[in-house]
C-alpha cells in the first residue's frame, strides 16, 4: 500500500510541472501585465515605468522568467506578490483559516444533509416527501449564489437573526473563548447555507439514483427473500454498494477545499481565498496566481489519491497493485 502511494506521488511530479509550464505561459500570453494599472496613472512617468519593469523582472523574456521562477520554487521560494510585496504563501496562509472554516462547514452541511436525504428519498420513491425534497433541492440549485446571498443578507438585516456579512462581530475582542467560537459559527451560517444549497441537489439526486439502482439488484431480492431484516438489507448491503461513486465525488470535493467561492465571499465579505485569487488574476499578479494554481493542482492530486484509497477501504473488491 505504501509503495502504491509513493508511486502515485512520484507520478504527480511531471503532472505538476506540466501544470506550471502551461499556467505560466498562458498568464504571460494574456495581453498586458501587472503594471498596466500603473501605466494609466497620470502621476507615473515613462521613465519611472522602466524602473518598475526591471524591479519586477517584467522586462525579461517569458522563458527566462519561467526558469528563474522554477529555480526559486525548487529552493522553496515561491516568490513575492507584486501588489502585496510579501511572500505569496504568507498571503495564502493568512486566508487559510477563513477559507477552511467556510469550506469544511459547507462540506459538513452538504454531505450531512445530502446523503441522508438521498437515502430517504430513494426509500420513499415518488412519495410526497420525496417530491418535496427534490423540489426544494432544485430551487437551491437554480438560484444563483450571489442572489441567494443577497436575499440572505436582506433577511438578516430585516430580522436581525443573523449578522450582515463579515466573519466576526464588532465586539469580538471582548468575548470569552466560547463566545468567540459561537461568533464564528453564527457568521458562517449565511455563506454556508448559500454555498451548501447549490451543492445539495446534485449530491442528493446522485445518492438517490445510486441507491435505487442497487435496490433493484437481485442480491437485494435474495436477501429479502431469505428473511434478512429490512434495516440490514438497506444499510449493510445496498447503501454500501451505492456509496462508491459518492466516495469518488468526495475526493474531488477535497480538491475544492482551498479554492474559495468568489461571488459568495464577495457578497458576504468573507475573507477567503476566492477573492484573493480573483483579484490576483485581474491584476495579473503573476506569482500569486501561480502559487494558488499549483496549490489547487496539488490538492487535486491528493484528493484523487485519497478517493482511491477510500474506495479500496469501503469496497473489498478493489485492490491496488503495482503492475
Amino acid at each position: 500500500m505504501l509503495k502504491y502511494i509513493v508511486r502515485r506521488l512520484i507520478l504527480a511530479i511531471p503532472v505538476l510541472l506540466g501544470v506550471s509550464v502551461l499556467a505560466f505561459m498562458i498568464i504571460s500570453a494574456a495581453p498586458g501585465d501587472f503594471l498596466d494599472a500603473y501605466r494609466l496613472n497620470p502621476s507615473i512617468s515613462k521613465e519611472q515605468l522602466t524602473v518598475l519593469e526591471s524591479q519586477f523582472g517584467l522586462d525579461q523574456n517569458v522563458f527566462v522568467q519561467y526558469f528563474k521562477w522554477l529555480g526559486n520554487v525548487l529552493t522553496g521560494n515561491f516568490g513575492y506578490s507584486f501588489s502585496y510585496r510579501i511572500p505569496v504563501f504568507e498571503l495564502v496562509w493568512r486566508r487559510l483559516g477563513a477559507t477552511l472554516l467556510l469550506s469544511i462547514s459547507t462540506m459538513i452541511f452538504t454531505w450531512g444533509i445530502g446523503i441522508p436525504l438521498g437515502i430517504y428519498s430513494a426509500l420513499h420513491q415518488y412519495s410526497p416527501s420525496d417530491q418535496a425534497f427534490s423540489f426544494l433541492a432544485f430551487i437551491g440549485i437554480s438560484i444563483p449564489n450571489f442572489f441567494f446571498a443577497l436575499l440572505w443578507l436582506f433577511m438578516a438585516a430585516k430580522t436581525g437573526w443573523f449578522p450582515i456579512g463579515g466573519i466576526i462581530s464588532q465586539n469580538f475582542g471582548d468575548m470569552s473563548f466560547f463566545g468567540k467560537i459561537g461568533d464564528y459559527l453564527w457568521h458562517v451560517v449565511g455563506p454556508m447555507v448559500t454555498l451548501g444549497t447549490s451543492g445539495l441537489a446534485g449530491l442528493m439526486r446522485q445518492m438517490r439514483g445510486q441507491l435505487l439502482d442497487q435496490l433493484r439488484q437481485d442480491y437485494v431480492l435474495f436477501a429479502r427473500a431469505k428473511g434478512m431484516p429490512e434495516k440490514n438489507v438497506i444499510y449493510k448491503h445496498a447503501v454500501r454498494n451505492a456509496i462508491n461513486p459518492i466516495v469518488t465525488m468526495f475526493g474531488y470535493a477535497l480538491s475544492g477545499l482551498l479554492g474559495g467561492a468568489v461571488l459568495t465571499e464577495t457578497v458576504f465579505g468573507w475573507p477567503g481565498m476566492g477573492r484573493l485569487v480573483i483579484e490576483a488574476l485581474n491584476a495579473q499578479d503573476l506569482f500569486l496566481v501561480m502559487a494558488t494554481l499549483l496549490l489547487s493542482a496539488v490538492l487535486l492530486v491528493i484528493g484523487n489519491l485519497l478517493a482511491d484509497l477510500l474506495l479500496a477501504w469501503v469496497d473489498p473488491r478493489i485492490r491496488y497493485r503495482l503492475s
Binding site: G32, K46, Q48, Y84, R85, G165, V267
Partner: protein
C-alpha cells in the same frame, strides 16, 4: 544673585533643549472628545507602505496615519499650515522655504525634526526605486530635481533652476516619513517590501490616528495618536474620536445594508442608491448631501496617428471631433446611469475645481444632431443618398471604438456614442475588451477610438503626464520620438499650433509664481480644449454622501475637492 543667574541660565538652556510643542490651534472648533467613529472601505489594503500604495483601498486608511507639511483647504488647495507653520518663496521664485513646528513627536514618541523632512525628500522621494510614482512630479521644466538644504534647525529650502509653484503641492502634500524607523531599510533597498500588511503594528506616523489592529477582510482598528499636534479652541487635544473603526467590506450592497442597520456613521452611496436613502433620511435621522461633479473624468479619445492615413485625417479634423461632442446624448446617460445625479463635462477641468473656467460655457455645447451634422459639413464630410457619411474623398466613415469590458459607465457611454454616430450615418464598431488590452492599444497607439477615464485633482497641473507633448499618457497624438519602435514617423506626424500652446502652458504654469497668472494659463488651456476637443469629455457623477445626524463636521459641506472625511480630526459625535 549669582545663584539666581545660574538657575536662569539652566532654565533657558533647558527651554532651548525641550522647546515647547508648537501646537496648531483650530480656534473655532469646540467639539466633544470621545467615542468611536464607524466607517468602511471597499476591499482590503494591499500594503501599509504609503510610497507603494496605489489603490484607494490602501491609500484611504493610510491617510489617517500620515501628516504633510501643508494641508488642503476646502477647495483642495495647499493653503493651510500642517507640520509647517510657515512657508514662502524667495524673491526670484526659485527657492521654496518651509519652517516646521518645533517640539512635535512621532506616534512612537520620537522627536520630529527637520532631518525627517530632508531625508523624506532626498533619500526617498527623489530616488525612483523607492516609490511607485517616481520623482517625475518634482522635476522642473528643465527636468531638474531641486537642491534641498537645511537652513537652520526648523527651516528647509528647495531650490529649482526655474520657479516651481507646484512645490506647494508636491512638497506640501508629501507625507513626511520617520527617518529613525525607515533609514536602514531605505539604505539597503528593501523599503518596497517594508510596512506590508503583516507589519500593521509597526507603523509610525504624524497623522491623527494610529493603526492598532488589522484583521484581514474584517476591519482596521485605529486609535487616536496621543502625540498629534493639533488642539481646538478650548485647548482640547485632537482628534476628538478615541477610536476609528474601519470596516473592510467587499460589496456596495452589503455596505448599504450595514449603513441602514446603523453599523456605519458615514456612507458614500452610489447614484443608484442615493434617492432611496434621501427618502428615508428624515425618518432615520440622516443628513444627506450632494456635492459638485467628481474630479475624475470619462472621455473619448481619437487616435491622430493610426496605421490608416484615411482615418488619421478624420480624427485630426476638428469638425469631426466636435460633431461627437454634439452627437452624444449626455443627459440620457446621466438619467439612466446616475439617476440624474451627474453633470455633463465639456472640458478637462471639473466645475468642482477652483481652476474651472466658466467661459468655456460660451461654446454652448449640448446634444444636437443638427449641429453635429453642421460641424461635419464644415469639416468637409458629406452624405450619400442612403445616409452614409463619407469624407471629402468619398470614403465611408467607419471606425472601431474600444473600452474595457465590465465597466458599466464606459460601456453605457460607448453605446450612446454608437447611437449618436448612427444618426450621423457613421458606423461605429463597439468592442468591449479586456482592460489590459485597452491599455496596450492606447499606449502603442494602435487603437482608433477609446472610452477611458483618468483620476483627477483640483489642480490641473497634476495632469502634466497627459497634456504635455512628451507625456506618457498623451495618447491621442504621440510624437514620433515617443517610442522609436512604433509606427509613428516624422512625415506622418502633424502638430497643430494649439497642441504646441497647450504644451507651452504646461511648461509655463510650473513657474507662474503669481496665482492669477497660473489661473489665467489654465483658463486658456480650458478654452483651447473646449474649442478643439482633442479628447471629448463626457460627464461626471455628482459627489454624494449621507451620515448620521449625531456626527458633527467642522465644515458645512463636503465636496469632491474636500472628499469624504475632510479634517477628520475635527469630527465629533454628540
Amino acid at each position: 544673585m549669582k545663584k539666581l543667574s545660574v538657575l536662569l541660565l539652566v532654565l533657558i538652556a533647558a527651554g532651548l533643549l525641550f522647546a515647547a510643542t508648537e501646537y496648531h490651534v483650530e480656534e473655532t472648533w469646540n467639539g466633544k472628545p470621545g467615542g468611536t467613529f464607524y466607517y468602511w472601505g471597499l476591499g482590503d489594503p494591499k500594503t501599509f507602505n504609503y510610497d507603494w500604495a496605489q489603490e484607494t483601498s490602501s491609500t484611504d486608511p493610510l491617510g489617517f496615519t500620515v501628516a504633510t507639511l501643508l494641508e488642503a483647504d476646502e477647495g483642495g488647495m495647499p493653503t493651510l499650515p500642517g507640520l509647517a507653520k510657515d512657508w514662502w518663496f524667495s524673491e526670484d521664485g526659485l527657492t521654496f522655504f518651509v519652517k516646521i513646528r518645533e517640539g512635535l513627536q512621532w506616534s512612537d514618541g520620537a522627536p520630529f525634526t527637520i532631518d525627517d523632512v530632508y531625508w523624506t525628500f532626498v533619500d526617498v522621494s527623489f530616488i525612483p526605486e523607492n516609490t511607485a510614482n517616481g520623482n517625475g512630479s518634482y522635476l522642473d521644466s528643465n527636468d531638474q530635481l531641486p537642491v534641498v538644504e537645511i537652513v537652520d534647525e526648523t527651516t528647509i529650502s528647495f531650490t529649482w533652476t526655474v520657479p516651481m509653484v507646484t512645490a506647494l503641492r508636491q512638497v506640501g502634500f508629501r507625507p513626511i516619513m520617520p527617518k529613525h524607523v525607515l533609514e536602514e531599510v531605505v539604505a539597503n533597498g528593501t523599503y518596497p517590501e517594508f510596512w506590508t500588511i503583516a507589519d500593521f503594528d509597526k507603523l509610525v506616523g504624524m497623522g491623527p490616528f494610529v493603526i492598532t489592529d488589522y484583521i484581514e477582510g474584517v476591519r482596521i482598528a485605529f486609535e487616536r495618536n496621543p502625540y498629534y499636534w493639533k488642539v481646538d479652541g478650548n485647548g482640547v487635544k485632537l482628534p476628538y474620536f478615541d477610536k476609528l473603526n474601519y470596516e473592510l467590506l467587499a460589496d456596495q450592497n452589503t455596505s448599504l445594508l450595514r449603513f441602514e442597520a446603523g453599523e456605519l456613521d458615514l456612507y458614500g452611496p452610489t447614484a443608484e442608491q442615493f434617492p432611496r436613502l434621501a427618502e428615508m433620511a428624515a425618518e432615520k435621522g440622516w443628513i444627506t448631501g450632494v456635492g459638485g461633479p467628481a474630479l475624475g473624468s470619462q472621455f473619448v479619445t481619437f487616435n491622430f496617428n493610426t496605421t490608416d492615413p484615411v482615418k488619421n485625417a478624420w480624427f485630426r479634423n476638428d469638425g469631426f471631433r466636435r460633431a461627437f461632442v454634439y452627437a452624444m446624448d449626455r443627459d440620457a446617460i446621466i438619467e439612466s446611469l446616475y439617476n440624474g445625479l451627474g453633470s455633463p463635462l465639456y472640458g478637462p477641468v471639473s466645475p468642482s475645481s477652483g481652476f474651472y473656467n466658466p467661459e468655456i460655457e460660451q461654446f454652448a455645447y449640448k446634444y444636437s444632431i443638427t449641429r453635429a451634422r453642421l460641424e461635419l459639413k464644415r469639416g468637409g464630410f458629406d452624405w450619400l443618398a442612403d445616409g452614409t457619411c463619407v469624407d471629402a474623398d468619398g470614403n465611408p466613415v467607419e471606425f472601431e471604438l474600444l473600452t474595457n469590458a465590465g465597466n458599466v459607465v464606459r460601456e453605457a457611454i460607448s453605446n450612446i456614442i454608437v447611437d449618436g454616430a448612427a444618426k450621423l450615418g457613421i458606423k461605429v464598431n463597439f468592442r468591449p475588451i479586456d482592460f489590459n488590452t485597452v491599455v496596450g492599444r492606447l499606449l502603442d497607439a494602435t487603437y482608433e477610438a477609446v472610452v477611458i477615464g483618468l483620476t483627477g485633482s483640483v489642480d490641473p497641473g497634476t495632469g502634466w503626464n497627459v497634456y504635455r507633448l512628451d507625456g506618457g499618457l498623451h495618447f491621442w497624438n504621440y510624437p514620433p520620438d515617443y517610442n522609436p519602435d512604433d509606427h509613428i514617423t516624422e512625415d506622418m506626424y502633424v502638430l497643430p499650433d494649439w497642441e504646441k500652446r497647450v504644451d507651452e502652458i504646461y511648461r509655463l504654469q510650473t513657474s507662474a509664481v503669481v496665482d492669477q497668472d497660473r489661473y489665467d494659463l489654465f483658463a486658456e488651456f480650458q478654452m483651447i480644449f473646449a474649442e478643439y476637443q482633442p479628447v471629448v469629455f463626457t460627464m461626471a457623477q455628482n459627489f454624494l454622501y449621507v451620515y448620521k445626524n449625531n456626527i458633527k463636521l467642522p465644515v458645512e459641506k463636503l465636496t469632491p475637492a474636500t472628499d469624504l472625511l475632510f479634517q477628520l480630526e475635527g469630527w465629533w459625535k454628540e
